[in-house]
Symmetry: C2
Subunit: 224 residues, 2 copies
DNA sequence: TCAAAAGTGTTAGATTTACACCCATGA
DNA sequence: TCATGGGTGTAAATCTAACACTTTTGA
């Protein structure tokens, strides 16, 4: 029994914009497409939605397949559905972005999948409408960062305030005043100073902080 | 020749959250579902995406079919894709919201389609995940209204400042100070005072304003 | 000893909020 | 004449933005 048999079905895929932060830059994982159509073109990593899984599950599964990571921060970017967006067939794709700490991504697994981190500022032309997906993902992520402290997802558990500031600068694309930034971040109260010192970034060393989930509640009004 | 034949296809539909503003309230068009499954349940109006149309076109076509209106302000809300969201079959749906001036909607056409305007604050339980779609649409719309003057889409060409304020209050859900509101709106400069007076709202009468497209540019920072 | 990053407060300016009275009119 | 909604400005409080020097240490 089918209720909707007079209508036509289409393929639905998910495409993932995986953001990472390294060398002071916001980066995205992209690779050369391994299948036709478009083999060899730079592309986001994606997969098809199976009949028995939700679109969120499809996205989670796809990211896990690529990175081996679970429990990532992921959000839907939106559905992309021009008729001819895919050169082969009619495929509607739903884009998701994920935030990961690049250090958590096993290097050999990355090479195995032939993907690489590329600075979001100078991405090449990507397959189909993937550039558009990245722009929109970036815009949404930037907006999210302004209202919720999701930046921690892109950093190691312990980080310095300078690293955090650089992250905010990379995402928003603008320079921030050091004193104002630290004042505001500390006032928020969702980071916690540790007694540990990071000496990789300077001779003097900088205190390491960690995100304090308990101090952060959705209801409080976070503002940059 | 099919590239993706090993993957399964699914039905994709669009569901439309049509917002209107009347009697000082933000309203949504809903109706009793006319087909199985779920016949008789309150529901958004929707339709299937055809093989040869984009998802945006499908949404536009669906809204036009219901209201007879074209060139509406419409935005995608997102894709909804739980496996069992539709009780009949596996259907992935993409929600869109549209803003219309209720006066532009022909009353007989509305009755013909058996839909009605219902206050967004006290919607009944809707079919499938439609309540969730409405909440998300509302959230997005509220956010949009804060940064772009889209409110005019919900009003007649000519409107009073009180009407405009009531609209903002209905959308954001909070009371605004009359003087502060007028000050800010006027400072923005994208409304234009006419010499016309509306006497329907008061004995004294209030000046009618119109939206000035030329004065509004995306680049300027509009803030409530 | 010096280069390089870490750390720290204050002030002026801009923005936001709170607030109250007179006006014009139709009933 | 009075009840109703229309229309207007100012001052206090808050928030934002600009700004410069001292500290520590490894090379």
């Amino acid at each position: 029994m089918t209720y909707y048999s007079q209508h036509s079905k289409v393929w639905v895929s998910v495409d993932c914009i995986i953001f990472g932060f390294d060398e002071g830059q916001l980066k995205v994982l992209i690779g050369r497409r391994q299948m036709e159509p478009g083999r060899g073109e730079w592309s986001l990593y994606g997969g098809f939605v199976a009949a028995d899984e939700s679109i969120d599950d499809a996205a989670t599964r796809t990211v896990a397949k690529l990175t081996g990571l679970n429990n990532l921060y992921m959000r839907q970017v939106g559905a992309f559905g021009s008729v001819d967006r895919d050169p082969g067939e009619r495929v509607i794709s739903i884009a998701y972005y994920a935030l990961i700490n690049v250090k958590d991504y096993d290097e050999s697994l990355r090479r195995e999948h032939a993907v690489e981190w590329m600075n979001v500022e100078d991405l090449p032309r990507l397959y189909s409408d993937h550039n558009e997906m990245v722009s929109k993902a970036r815009k949404l992520m930037r907006q999210k960062l302004r209202t919720e402290p999701v930046g921690f997802r892109l950093l190691p558990t312990l980080f310095t305030l300078t690293q955090l500031q650089k992250l905010y600068e990379a995402v928003t694309g603008e320079q921030l005043d050091k004193r104002n930034f630290r004042k505001r971040i500390k006032d928020m109260g969702f980071i916690e100073k540790t007694e540990l010192i990071d000496k990789t970034g300077s001779k003097r060393g900088a205190f390491l902080y960690r995100f304090n989930k308990r101090a952060y509640r959705e209801d409080q009004n976070f503002k940059l």
